[in-house]
Symmetry: C2
């Protein structure tokens, strides 16, 4: 990494990718899925890269999850043939859905009779549908105990003649509010419990139905997946400060970091100003345990061709505007950086940072493209 910096090859805010750590994250999750006899259908919305997709292929992954039809098209064109679009089906994109359905094994999410009937009327190739279950996150999905609505949607699927019912899918996104192993375990138990009850109820009617869960915190931490058939974590490929705060990863599992040029120093406030703002990091924020104010990133040290996380509470991004980042640092760190230096910053939310940055630079100096 010293080379990357000292030779001046980085002149703008750049998203660094630690390929070895990233591959380790992928391998660990793949092994966990195998150990528990789970289908591993990783969410690719975090990395959005065909190149990184190959690292998943290398550990046997052939089914993926995405969050938009555009992303599904990108991965379909890159050779992926079994894709779940984990987003309530958008009726206004029916032409794209029709086209994709004829190219790949397409799995869609439904949660209303209206959507099911619209698909039935407008498709001419069969697609698989999951019913999205709200297992406590309360963003989307049918509540697991709303048997009336579930029955109505299942009935509409059966009548359609072109939709194949795959099973029940949930995203326990409320695990992002957890701050301990115990809290993650409680969410996992209630979320998977709700799904398993559904399986008990509907298995005789739909013998092959599968249960699919998705969030990185529970998939990272838990070891009990009894009754679950598929996992769809995404963020674990890179992890980030939010996952660290939840307890879903260690700091040295974080596989991406921003390299930003220092453009000003303000000694009276012990602040470094970097080229790197909301248009690079996103404005996602995090209040650390015992912290009072949100942070927008944390300073890492350079160490032997890699970075190493520092003390998040002492050296951190305190503010972001469109292109500026304000970094609060201790004296020792302040003195270490000059105007023109590169400083490495761990992101709060790697999905949104990667989405803004559009490409990665590995520690070996290779550029990795993405969607």
């Amino acid at each position: 990494m010293n080379d990357l910096f000292s030779e001046g090859s980085i002149s703008n805010p750049t998203l660094l990718l630690d390929e070895a750590t990233c591959k380790q994250n992928i391998r660990r999750m793949a092994e966990k899925a195998k150990r528990h006899d789970l289908v591993f259908r990783p969410h690719f919305k975090t990395h959005q890269s065909l190149h990184i997709g190959q690292w998943f292929k290398a550990v046997g992954v052939d089914k993926i999850t995405v969050s938009s039809l555009a992303m599904a098209e990108y991965f379909s064109e890159g050779g992926w043939e079994d894709i779940t679009v984990a987003f309530p089906v958008n009726l206004r994109e029916i032409e794209r859905i029709r086209k994709l359905a004829s190219a790949v094994r397409l799995n869609l999410l439904v949660e209303s009779v209206a959507s099911v009937e619209f698909l039935s009327e407008n498709l001419d190739t069969p697609v698989q549908v999951f019913i999205k279950i709200d297992s406590g996150y309360h963003r989307t999905g049918i509540l697991a105990d709303d048997t009336q609505k579930l029955g109505a949607v299942l009935g509409a699927i059966e009548r359609s003649g072109i939709l194949n019912f795959s099973g029940f899918l949930t995203h326990a996104g409320h695990s992002y509010g957890a701050r301990s192993h115990k809290e993650i375990a409680e969410i996992h138990a209630s979320s998977t419990g709700a799904l398993k009850k559904l399986k008990d109820t509907y298995q005789s009617q739909f013998p092959g139905l599968i249960l699919s869960i998705g969030d990185t915190p529970t998939c990272s931490v838990m070891e009990d997946f009894e009754g679950i058939d598929e996992i769809r974590p995404g963020n674990f490929v890179f992890y980030d400060l939010v996952q660290y705060a939840i307890g879903a990863c260690h700091l040295d599992d974080i596989a991406v970091a921003m390299a930003c040029p220092v453009v000003a120093k303000h000694e009276e406030r012990q602040e470094l100003i970097v080229y790197g703002g909301g248009v690079h990091f996103s404005k996602d924020q995090l209040v650390l345990k015992h912290g009072t104010k949100p942070i927008f990133g944390a300073v890492a040290d350079h160490k032997e061709g890699n970075w190493i996380a520092g003390d998040l509470t002492r050296n951190y991004v305190s503010k972001l505007s469109q292109e500026h980042g304000t970094i609060k640092v201790e004296k020792e760190v302040f003195d270490r950086y000059d105007i023109g230096s590169i400083i490495v910053i761990l992101p709060v939310h790697s999905c949104l940072t990667a989405n803004l940055m559009k490409s990665y630079l590995t520690l070996e100096g290779n550029e990795v493209d993405r969607f």
Copy 2:
């Protein structure tokens, strides 16, 4: 606008542009500058569009501000010849600076002897430099009363032989914290007061020095610009909910809005789920007066080919994840939208939303490209 929606031409989150309102915002600010005998050097980081740039040319603008060298290159290639990069000069981009300096009248910001000396050693075409003054925002710049540092930087500029000192520039970004006309006026008075004191001190030594101020709230609201030579507002071209909360605009001055497909309805919570998340809006948030929780956007009604703002406190975006938006609405609004409908949402921060969306759709159905 009814046409845009009902014909199904919008299938994804789309940034609508009300061209008439946008042009009115431009015209008003241009007239204000003229009335006060100010150079109008608008910041183009908000719209980032050559096409919209033409609307500024039409009212006589020939000098612009941008926030990155890449943006300066884009506008230079589009024919703009006098460009201020309102960001502390990034030494790592010296090759781009050298190239740009030979193509346009380039104005840079400096605030340290180190940066001035680096530019002196590495440039072979003259550039103009402003000294960035911290007039109270405390992000970047030299404090207006730090005569020692000011003297050192001015000395380095004089010694350089290739840097022409243009004057003092500030961005009173703390006006974004204002929530009344009175608070804006106080910030304006102290910020411009600090600059004018500098002019008094240095005018005999640098007779042509100019004072440049930049934020949208003070430029929108104030009428006293005595002693100031140049204004650089940017956000006013579109305005947004933050500017409305500050008191810098009316709701019907907001010239952009997101059109998002409704993908799910949750009656028990009176929530609409739209395709439109943090990757479309950005995660910038706003706590309204008397509000307790942040909002991420506000619902507007469709009305005769345009939108009209609704009650921000009753129908608003309560949560954003990567692709999902959760809209809290009253019963009457809930009932008005079906799955597959388009709902119009005013953005919290138009600069970041426009930055993510990459193009505009005018109410007449024309696509407007940008950087």
